[in-house]
């Protein structure tokens, strides 16, 4: 009989406790916390690998169009190298290996959306991204320079998805 009473008391206590907990939850006010986004490093928002310092190029260097290499392209607001562009980068690396006196300048460009200032930084990141990829393929970093034109020099001046996709590019020019 006593065991039963103790058990009943225990159950009652637990039940009472559970009920009171439930009661607290329903009386609590909902407090709005500000949404603090976690410090995530998405792969496409950071240059992969280590920083590779840029090198001073000769004062009198002149770069010219080569018409040999297609532009590589980027997703909106991103500067990661797309897998589909790795082929172009490989052929750039191979050509530079065969022509080891020549220096490369990578121009980074953006489409017109986005603020002018942010596009200048984004263009530079695109050029640096392509440079890192080439260095990872064995090209001497000292031979590769970067310049950003932001949204200043669109290839296609129109304002549609096609034009924008063309303008989000890295373009290759070579020393004379």
């Amino acid at each position: 009989m006593r065991k039963f009473l103790v058990l009943a008391l225990g159950v009652a206590l637990v039940a009472g406790f559970a009920l009171s907990l439930g009661g607290c939850a329903s009386r609590e006010e909902v407090v709005e916390e500000p949404i603090i986004e976690p410090e995530i490093q998405e792969e496409t928002s950071a240059l992969t690998g280590e920083d590779i310092p840029l090198t001073e190029q000769p004062e009198d260097i002149i770069y010219v169009e080569t018409h040999q290499f297609e532009d590589i392209h980027f997703e909106f607001d991103k500067y990661a190298i797309r897998p589909v562009d790795e082929g172009v980068l490989s052929s750039v690396a191979r050509w530079l290996e065969e022509n080891d006196e020549i220096r490369l300048l990578i121009e980074g460009h953006c489409d017109e959306r986005g603020t002018n200032e942010y596009n200048m930084a984004l263009g530079e990141q695109r050029a640096l991204s392509a440079r890192r990829f080439l260095v990872s393929l064995g090209v001497d970093a000292a031979r590769i320079g970067t310049i950003s034109y932001g949204e200043e020099r669109p290839l296609d001046p129109r304002s549609d998805e096609d034009a924008w996709a063309k303008n989000r590019r890295a373009h290759f020019v070579v020393s004379e």
Binding site: I35, E37, S45, L47, I62, M120, A121, E124, Q125, T146
Partner: protein, 441 residues
């Protein structure tokens, strides 16, 4: 032209000026307190045409237009709009040689600005007296003179003096805005008066020049330009047009921001292989890296006390505004709403940072409180608005708006949020930078 009336009128003014000059040598209250207003209430001011003499081309209407714009947009005054009644009252006053205060009060005015101007071929002067209509007395009188070509400056200085005398606040009528225009076919740096007038080209680089920023002495502007295959920071002397190279690091040399004391600058450079914030001497030497990490840092600006820096970083995955010590180190995030917050500019009052935020796909100008992180949106509607720059009064902001294939500069008062277009809609006007106050102002 009633020259006899002019003489009758000018003599009392000269006497008043002499009296005021003498009075100003004795200790006198700077701010006229009898017309004090609650927050947001405007002082109603009547500006009749000044009595004009001289063979030059500047007319009384021109001067009134400048005065009305300056006082009306200062944020403290409301200018009586019915110029027909205003000019009638003025004519009556000139006929009698006396100010009929009751008639002016009947128009709803509280303050009256009367003046004479002499617009010569080579010189310009104006003498003005400002009256408290309820008290029926003069508040102050002053004379401004100079080269004929600088007549606007005389009117702007009078407007700022009226603002200062009646409110204790410093106006912005004598300030300037630097900006980029492609009017010549190449992007060059230009300067204009804050009201959009007196636009003049400063650089002749015939390339792409952009991101102008003023040195605090107002004599030079630093900017980014392209020379051959390089991007460089140059400084240009506004009066002489002389330029000099400040930096020519490989890669990015962008977003120069001169420190409040003028001896240093910030810039975004990519010389170490990533786009980061650097602090340099104002002559471009001694770069010190302030930010690290795999993310992109750009668009730096100084706090007004020169101790902190606000900048853009994508370390969270999207571009946001951060604040750190001007010595570098840990950065605190300021913006949490939206996925694209860029282009910060720190208010001269130190409490707010203006920036561009993409809201529902449209770029708008917002402010964020540095302490509380509270965000206020200043602009609405369509058109891509970017690059806010604060006026030295911490109240007005200039920004660019791109719409329909053209970009224009607009200014707004953060307390009334009515955008005023400053440029003429003929092309692309971008990258505005509001000057400080001219020396002595």
């Amino acid at each position: 032209m009633g020259s006899r009336n002019a003489r009758q009128y000018v003599l009392p003014i000269i006497a008043a000026v002499l009296a005021v000059v003498a009075a100003e040598r004795a200790p006198a209250p700077e701010v006229y307190l009898s017309i004090s207003k609650g927050f947001g209430e405007k002082i109603i001011v009547a500006v009749p045409l000044f009595e004009a003499e001289g063979a030059g081309t500047v007319g009384a209407d021109d001067v009134r237009d400048v005065m009305s714009f300056d006082l009306g947009h200062s944020g403290y005054f409301s200018v009586v709009e019915n110029t027909a009644f205003v000019d009638e009252n003025e004519a009556a006053d000139r006929a009698t040689g006396e100010i009929d205060f009751a008639e002016w009060l009947a128009l709803g005015a509280e303050v009256l600005v009367k003046g004479t101007m002499e617009a010569g071929v080579s010189e310009f002067s104006l003498e003005a007296e400002v009256y408290d209509l309820a008290q029926g007395q003069s508040i102050f009188a002053r004379r401004y003179s100079g080269e004929a070509a600088r007549w606007r400056e005389a009117a702007h200085r009078l407007a700022d003096d009226i603002v200062r005398r009646l409110t204790g606040e410093a106006g912005v009528a004598t300030t300037s805005i630097a900006f980029v225009s492609n009017a010549t076919g190449a992007k060059e740096i230009y300067v204009m008066d804050y009201d959009g007038e007196n636009r003049r080209r400063i650089t002749r680089d015939n390339t792409i020049a952009t991101y102008p920023d003023w040195f605090p002495d107002g004599r030079r502007i630093v900017y980014t330009m392209y020379r051959g295959s390089r991007q460089e920071l140059h400084a240009v002397n506004i009066s002489t047009g002389e330029t000099g190279v400040l930096t020519e690091f490989p890669g990015l040399n962008a977003f120069p921001a001169v420190s409040p004391r003028g001896n240093e600058m910030l810039a975004a450079l990519s010389r170490d292989g990533n786009t980061e914030i650097y602090r340099l001497r104002a002559d471009g030497t001694d770069p010190r890296r302030l930010t690290y990490g795999r993310s992109t840092e750009s668009s730096p600006c100084w706090s007004p006390d020169g101790r902190r820096v606000a900048f853009v970083s994508d370390r969270s995955g999207t571009p946001q505004i951060y604040v750190m010590s001007a010595a570098g180190g840990r950065a605190e995030r300021l913006t949490y709403q939206g996925g694209n917050n860029t282009s910060p500019d720190w208010s001269p009052n130190g409490d707010l940072v203006a920036f561009t935020s993409r809201v529902d796909g449209v770029y708008q100008i917002c402010t964020v409180d540095v302490e509380t992180r509270e965000v206020v949106r200043l602009t609405t509607g369509g058109g891509s608005k970017e690059d806010p720059s604060w006026a030295p009064d911490g109240r007005h902001i200039v920004y660019s708006k791109r719409q329909g294939g053209k970009t224009d500069l607009y200014m707004l008062d953060i307390l009334d949020l009515q955008p005023i277009r400053l440029t003429d809609g003929s092309g692309d006007y971008t990258s505005p930078s509001w000057s400080g106050r001219p020396e002595g102002a």
